[in-house]
Amino acid sequence: MKILAYINTYNRTKTLLPIAISSILNQTIKPTTLIIYDENKEFKNPLDNPTLKYLLDLSMEKGIQWHWLPGQRKGAHYNHETANLKDYDFCWFLDDDQVAEYNCLENLLAEITPEVGAVAGLIIKTPSQPLPRDLDGTLNDVWKGQNIQWYKWEGKSKEVQHLYSSFLYRPNISHWDLRLSKKSFRGETMFTHSLFLKGYKLIVTPNAITYHFEGMGGCRSVEEEKSNQEMYDHDNDLFRKWLGVTDKPIIIADNGLGDHIVLRKLLDDHNIKDITIACCYPEVFEGFNCISIHEATQRGYNLDDYNLYKWMEYQQWKGDLYGAYQKLYENIIPPKS
């Protein structure tokens, strides 16, 4: 099995990068190759740096071929894509401010089956925090600004819809989106979610741990003529468009044909057309922008939040179906005056 381990680095040569490299070299399962993509303004020979030379000599001693390459200085995603196109069975990357536990790669590989596209472990900032209850590894977490990888938890691995930061992945299946800004914000989410959309499983295992030490430097701190906020906004907009998330409000009809018909009557009565409807019977909503229920879940919508019958039961609803829909979606369908 050929495994490529790589790190994108900027301005951490004297601080965290050597520790990150060392953690790769000391894995119980060794990668085949180690590549460092050097995004520093000035490319220097690593062998001129004593600490790096020790590490690179150690790499050879352990049978890990290394390459120290100038980065493309267009954002980490460009280097990711370069690695992605190489001929390896798996790619595993760390950020240059991360330290992988000695058995991290071994435990990531332990989760690999033919259906799995990528595996991540926990990315812990000390002191570690327990996993909040409302996170489930779907894209819902992204909208909340959260990730289950950030927390310490035990037990079974979880199937998720996206991965963050450091992970092991199968190359040459999906591609890193090169339209992102130099910040490469949402890059990992888009890349791993595209594997998910292609039918691969994404796994988070609590048994593979990487520690994240925040400090100066890092590829997202590379100087750029655009402001940070402009680039984050650009990447966020791209992400939303890529997902198909629009500003159109959404109604989710995961129910029967009769329920769909009642909803249609409500929309007709209020002359509402400019919405997205996730439904089971799109033929009822001719002329509307319809998506499938499956697509709605892939976009991160929690079906329980839109379940009309659950809502009616919870409310002990005594009115009719038409009124129930109107109440449930009163932010979209105002009462007729």
């Binding site: 044909l257 033929e283 009616m312 009115g319």
Partner: protein, 156 residues
């Protein structure tokens, strides 16, 4: 029991979607054969009506075409009662354990035998509800309702 005397096209939908458990759907009208026999009459009788029945899933447009075709619609609490309402056509709806005040439309004629048969959890799964044929009106009530509507229609 008087029958409808004028030629009439009647659309039936008396059997709901099959339950995943394989059990009979509690919404199904239990006296379907007796109702049909009432309309069909003796073998050599003169026919005054044409009957069509929806017995399984059909394309939505076909359902709409059938509703357009029908003079009268007799159905259970199914999509058809909602579709008839949507199309502005009155249906006679045969209720059993689901509540017409929640799931029905006042524009339809809702035949509920007795509120005592309504299931307690109106929003629960049908797979968790036992079948109760006692909950439904008899074919005689349906015919009586049709006759009354006919007399009303003629007089107005």
């Amino acid at each position: 029991m008087g029958l409808i005397k004028n030629f009439m096209k009647i659309l039936f939908h008396l059997k709901a979607k099959e339950l995943s458990t394989g059990e009979v759907n509690p919404k199904n009208y239990p006296f379907r054969d007796e109702l049909y026999a009432t309309f069909l009459g003796p073998v050599d009788s003169v026919k005054h009506y044409e009957l069509k029945e929806i017995t399984g899933p059909i394309p939505l447009q076909e359902s709409k075409d059938l509703i357009d075709w029908a003079d009268k619609i007799i159905c259970i609490d199914s999509y058809l009662q909602h579709l008839a309402w949507y199309m502005g056509k009155q249906a006679i709806v045969l209720w059993g354990q689901s509540d017409p005040s929640i799931f029905g439309h006042p524009e339809n004629i809702n035949l509920l035998k007795n509120k005592k048969y309504l299931r307690e959890r109106q929003y629960g799964l049908w797979t968790q509800t036992s079948y109760n044929k006692e909950a439904f009106v008899t074919p005689e009530i349906i015919i009586k309702t049709l006759n009354e509507r006919e007399r009303y229609h003629k007089n107005n």
